[in-house]
Subunit: 490 residues, 4 copies
Amino acid sequence: MSKIMPTTDPFDDDKLREECGIFGVVGVTDAANFVTLGLHALQHRGQEAGGIVSHDAEQGFNSARRFGYVRDNFTSQSLMETLPGPLAIGHVRYSTAGSKGPTQIRDVQPFFGEFSMGGAAIAHNGNITNADALRRELIERGSIFQSSSDSECIIHLMARSLQRNIPERMEDALRRVEGAFSVIAMTRTKLIGVRDPLGVRPLVLGKIGDGWALSSETCALDIIGAEYVREIEPGEMVVITADKGVESIRPFRARKPRFCIFEHVYFSRPDSIIGGRSVYETRRQIGVELAREAPVDADLVCPVPDSGTPAAIGYSQESGIPYAMGIIRNQYMGRTFIEPTEQIRNMGVRLKLNVNRALIKGKRVILVDDSVVRGTTSRKIKEMILDAGAAEVHFRIASPPTAWPCFYGVDTPQREKLLAATMSEDEMCAHLQVNSLRFISLDGLYRAVGEAEGRDRKQPQYCDACFSGEYPVEPADMIEKGFKMKTAAE
Amino acid sequence: MSKIMPTTDPFDDDKLREECGIFGVVGVTDAANFVTLGLHALQHRGQEAGGIVSHDAEQGFNSARRFGYVRDNFTSQSLMETLPGPLAIGHVRYSTAGSKGPTQIRDVQPFFGEFSMGGAAIAHNGNITNADALRRELIERGSIFQSSSDSECIIHLMARSLQRNIPERMEDALRRVEGAFSVIAMTRTKLIGVRDPLGVRPLVLGKIGDGWALSSETCALDIIGAEYVREIEPGEMVVITADKGVESIRPFRARKPRFCIFEHVYFSRPDSIIGGRSVYETRRQIGVELAREAPVDADLVCPVPDSGTPAAIGYSQESGIPYAMGIIRNQYMGRTFIEPTEQIRNMGVRLKLNVNRALIKGKRVILVDDSVVRGTTSRKIKEMILDAGAAEVHFRIASPPTAWPCFYGVDTPQREKLLAATMSEDEMCAHLQVNSLRFISLDGLYRAVGEAEGRDRKQPQYCDACFSGEYPVEPADMIEKGFKMKTAAE
Amino acid sequence: MSKIMPTTDPFDDDKLREECGIFGVVGVTDAANFVTLGLHALQHRGQEAGGIVSHDAEQGFNSARRFGYVRDNFTSQSLMETLPGPLAIGHVRYSTAGSKGPTQIRDVQPFFGEFSMGGAAIAHNGNITNADALRRELIERGSIFQSSSDSECIIHLMARSLQRNIPERMEDALRRVEGAFSVIAMTRTKLIGVRDPLGVRPLVLGKIGDGWALSSETCALDIIGAEYVREIEPGEMVVITADKGVESIRPFRARKPRFCIFEHVYFSRPDSIIGGRSVYETRRQIGVELAREAPVDADLVCPVPDSGTPAAIGYSQESGIPYAMGIIRNQYMGRTFIEPTEQIRNMGVRLKLNVNRALIKGKRVILVDDSVVRGTTSRKIKEMILDAGAAEVHFRIASPPTAWPCFYGVDTPQREKLLAATMSEDEMCAHLQVNSLRFISLDGLYRAVGEAEGRDRKQPQYCDACFSGEYPVEPADMIEKGFKMKTAAE
Amino acid sequence: MSKIMPTTDPFDDDKLREECGIFGVVGVTDAANFVTLGLHALQHRGQEAGGIVSHDAEQGFNSARRFGYVRDNFTSQSLMETLPGPLAIGHVRYSTAGSKGPTQIRDVQPFFGEFSMGGAAIAHNGNITNADALRRELIERGSIFQSSSDSECIIHLMARSLQRNIPERMEDALRRVEGAFSVIAMTRTKLIGVRDPLGVRPLVLGKIGDGWALSSETCALDIIGAEYVREIEPGEMVVITADKGVESIRPFRARKPRFCIFEHVYFSRPDSIIGGRSVYETRRQIGVELAREAPVDADLVCPVPDSGTPAAIGYSQESGIPYAMGIIRNQYMGRTFIEPTEQIRNMGVRLKLNVNRALIKGKRVILVDDSVVRGTTSRKIKEMILDAGAAEVHFRIASPPTAWPCFYGVDTPQREKLLAATMSEDEMCAHLQVNSLRFISLDGLYRAVGEAEGRDRKQPQYCDACFSGEYPVEPADMIEKGFKMKTAAE
């Protein structure tokens, strides 16, 4: 009768999921402790597993990989004592979309390789679009893969490089790799950071005391008390040592950057700073734009917690309609839960969210959410709100319709599962049975991130493939598996 | 160098902590599953441990008690299958303030006793103010206590009652008990609920299908899809069976009710309804009152997440100063964390909260928090805000100064640890080194909960002992241990 | 296809199982560590669970109870540090035969009670034959039982005693108790030991440095380096303090002792000394008697490991037939195992035992075992031996036929499951399909334990109820449940 | 005061330790369950960790690796269900002698590699004497090693082989490997077994139903009910499929075999059959030879449990001095234990062994042990026996003095730690302070294993390097690390 049902991490339901967060530090005492803190601050980028590699002059390289949250694994004294030394890097991950079966612990990064000139570890955020072809080639030559991860190609390419030091082997390897990658690596003495030529995924540099940190986002610099220095630039490699500081290299041919616009909309934490802009402020501004593009007469503006909050504040401020917490999130939500009987519907959502009934009753409610992926959660939330007696429900979405999968390091459903891949805005509104449903326009979104003129259709300023279907790097492996690119007609 | 430091559940830092949540249900299939859901919704009332007792006609009474969150313990199929039957009750708890040493699993409720006419289990929210005296008397007569809990007295008093059925034994027992108590109990067929004559702690009745539920708060009725029927009244006992429904009894002499006003301010969930009022709306109204009582010229109104949010919204709406998320809470906070080095200050707070630096810089910020207990967290938050470049910091507190400990089921520091016990409002402002600090007045608080005339000084409508020092029930055990009541002079 | 099958602790298969071992020590540093060692040496008396209570002047009483082996639970530094002080007692147990369902941790002894004059803990080896009646009476008076254990009666009787100190309350309680009991108890300063008037279960006194130890067997004195002083006598109570030493009391009317003869045959460890006799030597002597009573022409004498070994050595020495290890025991046997397919028969035995094929082939083999209970294992061993090519199989059993259940602290199958309750020796031989089967006679057994004249039929020197059906204490609870005593005709 | 002390697995104390046991099966339902049973029977060859790889047509290769006993890990239904299919291999291991730091789970075999023609897994018993050189060469070419194990070289050599099927790649790889190896490998359809040209380590073939099994020892064939077919011959490779049966290949140049004589003395289980001889009978015969070579007048012959037992029986039978269990082993011994105080000496031994005091007192005792390595345990046992009042203690050792380390898959202390490397027999006797100490001669040992003429000094029939210092394969890696071979003068 009853059964276990998988649910509902804070960011879990019907959301696109960032696959990784990476962090590294050099030149501090007990570097692995700092990496623990940094990964904790990046936990929203990957909740399934985490790993840390450290290096100590006496004890060499050490590593630990665990399933579950950073806070539950990398906080025991006994574990952290096995990770000594002034240099460490770490990684948090979601499961890879394409992998069959559950993640194995051997899939958890950082990956480590011993070369003739010493060892190196790498942590990768992004996705290699030619990984299948590279893997076949490497196996043919006699490499033995340990994981199902695309990222493992990098370390094998490094092992086979003819170069005589590790940073050069890394350049060598990354020139064979296509797709999106921000990589943090370490040797016995060096902390290395690289971004792909388009700079799809973020990577920032911080200063802490006499040491240096690399991180996916600035919020992880804040937690260790590091000062934000700058972003690693698209196509840049930095090689950092405790004594010589930061050396900058340009291993790739220069290209026009295409940073992932969805980092602004959803993936990054609101207290992070991207490209000099507050993510929170960008999201609030999206709400402002949305209120201008899609006004509606109503009594309350309510966020869908927690990711819709900044845009809802903006929408309220621009529209003058009062902001209210119409939906309350349970702070103690976990990963799985028992459904007591099949009669109890929508339990996955109800375990996490509850409607503020006394507030909502009889009101015309604007619900602001960050995105609609398959539409499953939106439908349940609408039902909760109506059950509580709302007079009208208007959805306002802080991103354009998500109509195309991401192949650059974000876990997306197959295209046919995306609601916007098969329905127009009006069809979605009818499907969800709400009084109105409006998405921000692509130009409105570009304005909110500071492009006053909106999107440059010839040379878009960002990667917005999930909205536009225009992929800046050809997804070679996926095309081989049958994915159809957007045609001229579409 | 590094060490484990205890931190910081969402509601943990420098807050008063409710000690218990209770829930029971009768007349449903697999009642324990419903109790799991109900306790999950009441988790904010007690996070240390939880227990469930169920009864099944064939398998009799069964119980399970576990440390940790409900979601992590009472969601495994294998455990829940050991708790069959249509009748179950449960309890979540914090550690008892007075207990020496860590909680033992035997301290976790519900408590169970086998009597000659059958077994009974009880779950207690509140605190028995004459428990020490009762325990001495019971031991003298030959009872063997298994726990250090005050609540165990009830089951021993029941075991020794001369009455021939369990509800009457329970009446008998509770007439010997002083203090605050909401109790849910069960026999083989009956679900029983009682509130003390003053009705200090909450207890509500819900209807689910052909069955009935009792709960500390209405939010736990929502999660199981039960309909809210009414509050159990102060001094009322209800005896509920699946077939005969709810029977109401009045075991105690009638008294004027004194519900805990802090349930409105902080303990209860904002989506619960108390006395017909939305808790969220009451808190928003506190913010409105606070803006009227204590206005200040500033750029932003920011809540201290998450409990300050409704009052901050109200303050913003009344004052016209924009509401903003100046402090961001980490969603993945756990219980303990390593401090990497002693140089990193304020880590306990920083692991949980991060300032939205780009937003705060150069701004005059009003921070709205629900209460100030020892003042430790307020001080750290102020430092974080100033480090991020705020021009001014103004604290507005949504409760009056907390100057007296609670002896009715809330974990409070000793009186001398309470900042307001030793300092005036101005002294606290100077101590915290902020630009201004203002608490809502006791009358303002009473207005926000709907008492248009404010507090009735002769016959206060609520228990507000923590603010006023006027205790509606004499704390006999504590006086014996040396606690000094408020003198006429104070 | 495959399934988990319960198996086969070293002493598990088709054996009678002692239900408890008890140990206590006073006057040493970190007494709980000594109790851990003592219980480890007594693990053969109870493998399901163990518990230790200690007392320290500053920290009062502390306890820990765990399922599983002593070595796996009571050896962690972190646990043992919670059990400080110079006085401690402990208990290892099997599950109680009569209990429905699995053992709960609350059934694990020592039991503890807080009385008005201080706390006391008790550990009980034996069985109370009037426990059901006592429990009913105590519940009627208002006691609340926490366990399903018969032993809990003792602590409740003590709680209700009118005496003003704990040893006297214990005397008071034990005078109400019928059956077999060796008890070790402790107060804040005293270690107490008692044996029932018949002295059915063992209890010995040892000296260690300035302190004292009480133990079920002498082998547990050896492991802590204590010197064996003497047995506690039947009907004696000793009250021991670190400074005043051993005080002896006689709380019961004197009776002729009836020590359990099966302790000599099987329960006790071969390196223990009982009544001044080496258990090993007694068992070897049983083999000698058996060779005289039941000679047979054969090639090899093989023990069924490990308990048949001493008798097999004796049989070989008396008969002149070479002793050999025809069956080898796997050292790494655990509690459960998967059966790969149903085709693989006898796996429970084969996981534990393997025949030494090259040795057995073509030989006439005498197998010496300690007892036959249901006959299930004997049959499987016979099949293994024949599969390996033995020419003949002769069973020689080092105890008389086990035809009656024990009600004095040993876990026995119901009478109808005992092979010897329904079959004669010849019928058993035919049932097991072996060339011959002979048990030692009751007189032969008495001779082996040193009674040159054999068994005194009028006043037997031992309790041998499991062989003779003559119960020295009436099993009142069992008779109430329908057990039929031996009739004059039988 | 107290501390955790590592002790004392049954075979742990001051013994040489076999490093591995291997087992594989093809052509049965749920092959992994059979491997679990087989590894359980081989647990004495390696207790630290175990691993199983299986292959199923639908689910491909699956693997599980765990620390601890087979019985505790590979017996859960949930784990075994992850290892489906008719073909599986497994491995149990001790830690590698040379490894720095604790074993990682990635060091646990079988090792797996994906090649362009499909995957393969290998399990290795033995030691590769040129592993360091091979590893350097492979890393130089770009292989990435995952473990610190010498055995991983084999799978990398296979990955780089130019051959187009896996058995041929395996031949290719093993021709580069020096040292001792018995290997079991599997592809998707084939079970493969190989022994090195000298046949140092054992490997046997069995038949089970329509399937086949490979095992280190015959005792593991017995447990699954398989029939023993024959030994894999030195230098032979067998390739087995369910449908075509066993194909035999000879990849290496033929050499005169040199099987490890210590397998007879100690490593193998007494119920195994090696070279057509019962291991038990060989050990008993060693006792007979020892009684002839080194007679002494005494009262009792006692084995040091359990490995000295067969030789003690033989010694008793040849000498006519009665065999007795003078030392009793605790059946419940585990891995670690707390030492209660420093005063309690010899606790490591006493937790495991106890003297049968009543038997030993006043007796002249011959103790028969299998070997003396560092002499530490022998000394403690002697003290225990004397403490118990023995009149004389005579050690008789069932192997010659162990004076040289093994480099072929056995964990031996460095040469200078071996008592016999620095002392003569008389010096050892004086060092141990016993009445006499005698080892069996090398010729006596050869006679006991069936070589009537004793050892052939020109072409020894066995590898006896640990006794003679004559290494049949040059230990190249160890010589590079500074090991000094025996000189002509020695």
